[in-house]
């Protein structure tokens, strides 16, 4: 009886997570894209000029954006190990898209994201 019980415990211990996987699907692991929030809701937006691995690289991109007139461009940690270069406090989607159009005329390629 104890030997059968021991086997049963092992079977349940292995089988339970497998059943959960079978019915609930594979687990999701966080990635860098989790810190990129698509513009889906109300509120403020941000125009993101890009992400860089180091503050030094981010400062170069920020200076490039400032040099062509995008005042208020700042760098900040994105919480996923990268540095974000962006203009915050964009009041509406339309304004954000206008900023992006202007940026593309000076060889920048920003994206619109939901603000914090």
């Amino acid at each position: 009886m104890p030997r059968f019980g021991a086997w049963l415990v092992v079977v349940v211990a292995v089988g339970y997570p497998l059943l959960v996987l079978a019915f609930a699907g594979a687990p999701a692991f966080p990635s860098r894209t989790d810190c990129v929030v698509a513009p889906t809701g109300e509120g403020e937006y941000q125009v993101v000029f890009g992400y860089r691995d180091s503050e030094l690289e981010a400062l170069q991109l920020r200076d490039q954006a400032l040099a062509v007139g995008f005042q208020g461009t700042e760098i900040s940690r994105d919480g996923c190990g990268r540095v974000r270069v962006a203009v915050d406090d964009i009041p509406s989607r339309e304004v954000g898209e206008e900023v992006i159009r202007e940026a593309r005329t000076v060889d920048l390629d920003p994206t619109l994201e939901q603000g914090g």
Binding site: G5, V10, A13, G81
Partner: protein, 461 residues
Amino acid sequence: MTVRSLLGLFVLNLFALGVGAGLLWGLRGWRSWWELARLAGFAYMLGIAGLGVALTLVLVAGIPFSLATILLTGFVLAGAGVIVGRRLGRPRPALGVGPRRVGLAGAALAALVVVHLEALFRAARLSGLYAFDAWSFWVPKAKAIYFFGGLDEQFFSELPNATYPPLVPALEASAFHFMGSGDVVTLHVQFWFLLAGFVAAVAGLLATRVPPMLLWTFALLALVSPRVVGRTLEPQADFTLDYLFALAALLVVLWLLEHRPWQLASATVFLSAVMLTKREGQLLAACVVAAALVASWRDWRNAWPRLGLVSAGALALAVPWRIWYVSHDLTGEFPESGVTGLLDTLERARPSLQSVLSSAFSVDLWTVVLPLVIAAIVLAFIAGARVLPVYATLVYALALAGFTWAIWSFTELGVPVEQDEAINPVVRLTASLVVLSAALVPLLLDAAWRGTDPPRRPEAG
């Protein structure tokens, strides 16, 4: 910057492994290099516990906390271990025979554990500092130690939970020193090292004692619990406490079964680290010692004085922190109702017990771990084992009773008791029992299979 931080953490943890190996050489020694490889995880966790306790004492003594202090403290610990080992005349290790065959099922389960850890490593590298307690006081304490070079009384008194012991902040501050900055993202990787170290420590200690199938099944089951997956990498003390507690409890039960002095000596280090990690560490350490006292009652003349010595040693290492915060007028160590005020709030007893049990047996948090613990204890007892199931029953029962007391005396928490962990610490408390199961259930099931207490291949040394 991230690569430099990662390299810094790698060096810190290699250093902890070296410190632990030195301590292990003094406490136990090893006959072969293969044996050391098997026990590397245990040596690492011993190094973490030893360094954590020693750095806490360094902070309490007011010695400036710098990279040189950390290195010197580690060298002193490792050197002491080497000197003790020499004095005890430990023989020079041979290469030894390689590991025994694991079998297909055991190897597959071990591989799944490795894959799981690899996935968690990638998550750790990219984790922001979002855990409330972590950014509220654990990491600020660590930053204060890192930037100010010690315990800043004024800053600590402004933070929540000022009397929580500083072992984890000291380890985090050490991580900042080795990373070269207060990088709170890469800091999560340090907690991955602790998780991996714990798994390797349990595997190393149990590899010669239980079949691989049992060992890796329960390591994997504990690891894939939703709560462990979601919270184990947070840079706060909860899971660190659980690893240290589980290893202390495992060492004590191995000593009850095998009576090797190094097991009890190592348990002393882990128990003091448990008490210096969080307040509830004192409760958990008391549960381990009380369970061991009862489980060894047949052999009380031999066992009880040794267990008393372990308790006294662990307490002696934990007391200086208490003296420090009392002498600096920091408060908040005891629950609002006081230690004896429970009788005034008797109506809270039942809801508190319900809160603890519903958390401990929550499938959403811990899958089926605790029901399987109960099954393993019953099976071991029916099969004829005694010391192991009695000890396990008491550790779990006393801890559940202790957690009930903690919730009962936490009068800020209204009745009915909310399970929301923003206001109720019960989920964090019960995690310790789930982590412990990864170490105890394989032993219990092995005892159930063989119908007797001692493991099949007891440890030498």
